[in-house]
């Protein structure tokens, strides 16, 4: 499966990019995070505290347990600070 993976705010800065295309067979968001962390130190660092990371799947806020079947875009970011 081919996913667009997006990073915002300090996640973007720590990982060093805002968007990448990822080939994966991960079943859930949590599985995808585990794959990314295993890849390189900068991902491992960015995802070290998952309590500080929020996720959206196809532009909808969701949980780490969300399945990835049929998904096109996953975004990771810190808690939002709008307003």
């Amino acid at each position: 499966m081919t996913l667009d993976v997006l990073y915002f705010a300090w996640l973007r800065e720590r990982i060093g990019l805002g968007r990448e295309v990822v080939e994966t067979e991960a079943a859930t968001v949590a599985d995808l995070v585990a794959e990314l962390r295993a890849r390189e130190g900068r991902y491992d660092l960015a995802f070290a505290d998952m309590g500080a990371v929020r996720v959206a799947v196809d532009q909808e806020l969701t949980e780490l347990t969300a399945p990835l079947a049929g998904v096109r875009e996953v975004a990771f970011f810190p808690p939002m600070t709008g307003g």
Partner: protein, 145 residues
């Protein structure tokens, strides 16, 4: 009448309020957020957002407000980019026959915007830059609704 905008440019509060006044409302409430230099030395606030998601998130929040309160209109505008101290960051406006509905809906929109709209703020100061941390209070405020 729901209007949502995500833009780099400033907005015109008077025009937005006037449009809502014409919806048959008896009460129009507006909220404007302004860049504040809390600690001193703020050069600007950098506001990042998630373009593919931002509009639909704001529309979703506004639709929730319109479902919960009897509104004749609601407007949400949020800026992004580099904003100097004193600049307007965002506004919400609500219109209703009754003042309580207009106040509550505006208050609700603000609470949801703070924690559920995909914006992130970075303070760029003379001595460095930091992402603004989300406040526990803001997350807790959602429990009011």
């Amino acid at each position: 009448m729901i209007r949502v905008a995500v833009q780099a440019d400033d907005f015109d509060l008077a025009a937005e309020a006037a449009a809502l006044e014409r919806t048959g409302a008896g009460a129009v409430v507006t909220f404007t957020g302004i860049v504040r230099d809390v600690a001193g030395g703020l050069r600007w606030m950098e506001i990042e957002h998630y373009p593919a998601m931002t509009r639909s998130a704001l529309e979703g929040i506004a639709a929730q407000a319109a479902e919960r309160w009897s509104l004749t209109g609601a407007t949400v505008i949020h800026r992004y980019g580099s904003l100097a101290p004193g600049a307007r960051i965002m506004m919400v406006a609500t219109a209703s026959a009754h003042r309580r509905a207009a106040f509550e809906a505006a208050d609700f929109l603000m609470d949801y915007l703070k924690s559920r709209a995909p914006f992130w703020k970075k303070e760029v100061r003379e001595d460095g830059a930091d992402w603004v941390a989300a406040k526990d209070d803001d997350e807790a405020a959602l429990g009011r609704w």
